[in-house]
Amino acid sequence: MVKFLKPNKAVIVLQGRYSGRKAVIVRSFDDGTRDRPYGHCLVAGIKKYPSKVIKKDSAKKTAKKSRVKCFIKVVNYRHLMPTRYTLDVDLKDVVAPDCLQSKDKKVTAAKETKKRFEERFKTGKNRWFFTKLRF
């Protein structure tokens, strides 16, 4: 009886172009809105996972391999698989429901989340989130 689809929850997108990708809930709309009369949430996820970095790699190569490509999407709850993991990256100010209305707002939001994801990846925390789900 605990609500678990809350912000900062790590989820896996199940349907659509990004199916199989890990994402984090930024904002959840449990009762829906007028345009979307179903439970849905705004997620920020990983489009392209960072590659495996080995000790032999030069600094330039490490930087290239640690790049993360992000996506921002509004997803129905039905198309998500919640996990027991969380990712506490503060994306509330960056990702807002209105940033999906125009292309350039979306691009700037994605760039900012990319930066935050990359710095989180470099610290080595939340390793599960940045590994590709094999299926």
């Binding site: 009886m1 605990v2 609500k3 678990f4 689809l5 449990d30 439970g39 709850y77 919640p82």
Partner: protein, 112 residues
Amino acid sequence: MVAGKKTKKTHESINNRLALVMKSGKFTLGHKTVLKSLRSSKGKLIIISNNCPPLCKSEIEYYAMLAKVGVHHYNGNNVDLGTACGKYFRVSCLSIIDPGDSDIIKSIPGDQ
């Protein structure tokens, strides 16, 4: 966790409690609505039949683990669970939203 052979007495008591819930409480039947009730944190107890497909079973158990809701593995298949609910169709999983007059929520997860 000793499952063993569930005595006839406790099995009947589950059936009795379920019948009372059907009469006086709120419930939903079926995988889709069970997940919906878990997501909205309305479900209070989940009952799964023993021949529920393992993927569905695992999915429901995982959601219930996240929502901290008890899951009861019914000692019977979906045909039996449907009969226990008083329905003429098969029921693989059901979610009790409001137990009504029944004490199923207090008594059954304790037995598990």
